[in-house]
Point group: C2
């Protein structure tokens, strides 16, 4: 449901809601005698009843004697806690590697009832078409979906070939069509603060349309740079990594979206901003997941996991709850819809056992009991995706010879290579001395030297020009005759292949060509593990559980292939993300971003 | 400036703001070295500089070394306090008896930089035309004007003749045309909670248009009634009179607009909600003026007077300040525009001496120094009002005989009369035994018995049918040969005349016919004091100071005419307000509202 849907629904229903609250008419849901955690006042109200009608809360208080209809569902909270549904104000569905229907099915049992998906990944593949398609897929899902418009596609124009590009006019169109509710993360903070006209043209569209603009400000400059970024319109940011940064942002009127995803675990480093300043107003603090794998959802839950962690780290439970409910609703300027258990709001309600474990016992989304004791109670039908969205890996059949790196000479020479740092988003640039053999530079597993190749995959009529690039990689510790390939390769999501053997690399690439994308591990001539991701080459249409199992298979195979690190597939997926330091590979070549200088192409063989 | 104006302006300016924040470009306003009261964090930041450019804040922090242009205005705060401009989220300009230009000139020196005028009174006179006209008058005034759409015109359809009626379709039109920003106070709470379809149709327009809906809920029912009212869409209310009510509303997600006007002084009764619950989240609490006379503005200030009072009563200063800045901005869902001194927000900034007296030394509105040490520093041009708006008192010339009350018989008889209770908004119904003389029932000053008459005044071609009514009034203690008349007569603002003598009443009425409306005191055959209110019969075009002087003249004359009570003209102006208990007079007759029953016509001579 979008906000306008909610408003229209409430406009039709207001007299009924009034009647239900006045006990002239029965509600269709009554939750009896819970302990309401009141996020407006910060107080807990014992023995509280909640009545809802057609998805909207009509009454909160003592409902003894209120009428019960034959269709009224009665739930006895029996002194357990009543909470508002949780709001994740910044996240990417694609990171969980399933489509929206599966994602919703996976997270609803954990109590997240509102998400703000920044559909950055699928938009890199399909452009504005992805935005419209995503909007459609959200239509019948019992989850509030406030889509956020991607505004940095491609990440750096001219330095990579993405599937599409998003212009200011696209952004304006998405707002006019109401495909999206807010502006997604503006990652190009250099473009903002140094006044790139295209970047400001996009911001202008968001401003004129009155949309909340989220940011991604990861510079250490908390003076001019931060002010400049906020002054340009962004009022929320999930990129803080220290309490100092968090405090600086909150103080300048920017909501701090404290991140605690699968891999980026900033929350513990940010909370001291609150914990060390006990008198501080905490309304500018929220919590988000950003990126979580299906495994995290399966094993630990979704936003509730973040809430638990905040409480475990010492935040008072009601304050922590405000950070994923009312504060987030205020960030989104949607507090008349979501974020509290109060009359007129959507009946997005959780019943939990206590305020320590936050064990979710019942989840209501729009008044419907969608989950109980961890089990989904509604059927969320699969979306019938158009063919084009399931057919996005367009590469020629690969041969081993396609991965050969010819040497410019016969002598030992210096090669610029990427060093992957497990668990980190950045890489290091490293100069290697390699000796050619038979006119080629080869991978060598015995020296932890792999090849990495990025192959353009987005055009249906395969371009004559190959549009690929290849380089060398250290730090992955792959065994011999091994390759790993992925179409999840930020941000442009071209096909990324790493390997110690050209034959294995070709097999890995061809396997994903056949599966329509995904992750694959090849060793000794055969596929060890495959996770097909046919939707945009990024997402499975299976359930979160099945995706988690498949991903576990891939991770196990990667471990057996010589990579001992946790979630190494996520680290690999950033090897093509050219907005990060220090050296990355786009399909157009090696891109260096070092020492605060703007990104630039650098040759494989330095002069 | 409206919100959309601000957004458009900021969209054009964003690259410049970014450049100013980055010190690549000079701002046009620098405030140096103040103590910033940070309403986002609740903390105070010493030695803070603020830079603005073309009305928008670009930078907050340490601006040492930032460029200064030849047009840069530099203000040294010298350790004084820097505050956001104050936001009055519910008020009526008409209550101050001057037009918007004069009102703005009067309040800007006191630090109010945003008002949400519910233009209920002028809309009762002119209907939707008033809404459009008011919007136009706001265009060039250095004050943020978020007009609120009146939704209860007339107060009770069919029981009085107002100048116009507002329908759901009018409300929808005002939103589409962007003449108004939010929904004005929904006073018809019985209509809301008992499901009047016309009332819900109006609410439906506000909901579909996504507008914030303010309320006026004055029932003691804090269970079903309050829930019903909030569930129907209203999320703010200024009608609480006790801490219990305030707490109940806040807890149900309704912003409490604590009122402290000239006559309705609820604030001290509401603050215990906060003061007695020190751990409570105070974000749902705001403060408003609702109705202030020009005398109050002249002598005590505007919203700053309310802020001072809250601090005097024990609210911590920063928390009190939040109640008239950030909290109000969140109520209005406009915190990206107003309510804090932060980058990207309007440069609405106050410099005050300390956080006890809150003596306002400088006021910036949209980056312009609009006032200094209590003096206006900008010229606010008078608006050139259309003739129709200055010509709204259409009554036939009155003769003494028009005020005669013929007796139905010659014997002593029972007459239903109104007892005015000084300082209270309600009246009492009182049965009197009167003896006719010469076939008439007469006023008798020696027994504190006056006549009260309401004369329809809104149609240019004076209706054949007289559309007036007359009754008797106790409690005003007028002397002999005295009359008072007013075209400020809530809600329909017909001409109200009270007096102890028919000749005097005719002279009073004819004086206002000639002046185009206003307040007048007549005694012993001559006009003792006249305050002309030519604009809609409600507002002067003079300054707040001049209006205050004239009002003082009327109050003095009223005192000399026998009424010792403070601001008795305000109490008189409610004698026609038929939504109040117990007995009031509309131009159609006596209306009783008693014992919780709905209002009904009652005869002057009970059976």
């Amino acid at each position: 449901m979008t906000y306008q849907d909610f408003l229209n629904h409430k406009a039709v229903l207001s007299a009924d809601l009034a009647a239900v609250a006045m006990a002239r008419q029965a509600g269709d849901l009554i939750i009896r005698k819970g302990r309401l955690v009141n996020v407006h006042t910060g107080m807990i109200e014992d023995q509280t009843d909640v009545i809802a009608f057609k998805g909207i809360i009509a009454f909160v208080g003592n409902a003894d004697g209120y009428p019960v209809g034959k269709n009224t569902k009665i739930i006895n909270a029996d002194g357990r806690y009543i909470l508002p549904g949780l709001i994740d104000s910044h996240m990417h569905v694609e990171s969980s590697m399933v489509d929206l229907a599966s994602f919703a099915s996976g997270i609803l049992p954990h109590g997240t009832t509102t998400i703000c998906p920044d559909i950055h990944e699928m938009t890199n593949v399909f452009g504005l078409k992805a935005v419209e398609l995503f909007h459609k897929t959200a239509a019948h899902i019992p989850l509030n979906v406030l889509a956020a418009m991607p505004v940095c596609v491609p990440s750096i124009p001219g330095m990579e070939d993405a599937g599409s590009a998003i212009t200011a006019s696209d952004v304006g169109k998405a707002y006019r069509e109401n495909w999206v509710e807010l502006q997604g993360e503006q990652m190009n903070f250099p473009g903002v603060i140094y006044g790139d006209p295209n970047v400001h043209a996009i911001g202008g569209e968001s401003l004129r349309a009155g949309r909340v603009m989220t940011g991604h400000y990861s510079s250490p400059d908390l003076a001019g740079g931060l002010n400049s970024f906020i002054a340009s319109g962004m009022t929320a940011c999930h990129e803080s990594t220290s309490a100092r940064e968090a405090l600086a942002k909150a103080g300048r009127g920017m909501y701090v979206q404290q991140r605690y995803g699968s891999a980026w675990l900033d929350l513990p480093n940010l909370l001291p901003a609150l914990l060390d300043n006990p008198g501080m107003d905490s309304r500018m603090f929220t919590m988000v997941t950003d990126d979580v794998t299906p495994l995290t959802i399966e094993e630990e839950g979704h936003l509730i996991r973040v809430l638990r962690e905040a409480v475990r780290l010492g935040v008072p439970p009601v304050q922590a709850l405000q950070m994923v409910t009312l504060n987030a609703a205020q960030l989104l300027e949607k507090e008349r819809w979501i974020g509290s258990v109060a009359p007129g709001r959507a009946a997005d309600i959780l019943i939990v056992n206590n305020l320590v474990d936050f064990k979710v016992q019942s989840v209501f989304s729009g008044g419907i009991l969608v989950a109980e004791k961890g089990c989904l109670k509604v059927e969320i039908p699969p979306y019938d995706y158009p063919d084009w969205s399931l057919d996005s890996v367009h590469i020629p059949l690969q041969k081993a010879g396609d991965f050969v790196v010819p040497s410019p000479g016969d002598e030992e020479l210096t090669v610029r290579s990427i060093r992957l740092v497990p668990g980190m988003v950045f890489t290091r640039e490293e100069m290697l001395c390699l000796v050619p053999r038979d006119g080629q530079l080869r991978a060598d597993f015995s020296q932890d030297l792999a090849k990495v190749c990025v192959i353009y995959r987005h055009e249906k009529s395969i371009p004559v020009e190959d549009r690929r690039s290849i380089a060398f990689l250290k730090g992955l510790t792959l065994r011999e005759n091994t390759a790993y390939a992925s179409t999840v390769s930020h941000d442009s999501h071209n096909l990324l292949v790493v390997g110690t053997d050209d034959e294995a690399m070709a097999l890995a690439a061809n396997t994903l060509k056949a599966s329509g994308g995904g992750l694959v591990v090849v060793q000794d001539g055969s596929v060890q593990a495959l996770m097909p991701l046919p939707f945009a080459g990024l997402m499975s249409l299976k359930s979160v559980s099945d995706a988690a199992l498949e991903l576990k298979g891939v991770e196990t195979a990667l471990r057996e292939a010589g990579c001992p690190h946790d979630s190494v597939e996520m680290t690999i997926s950033l090897l093509g993300l050219i907005v990060l330091p220090e050296l990355h590979l786009s399909n157009k070549g090696l891109v260096q971003m070092k020492d605060g200088a703007p990104p630039c192409f650098v040759p494989l063989f330095p002069e």
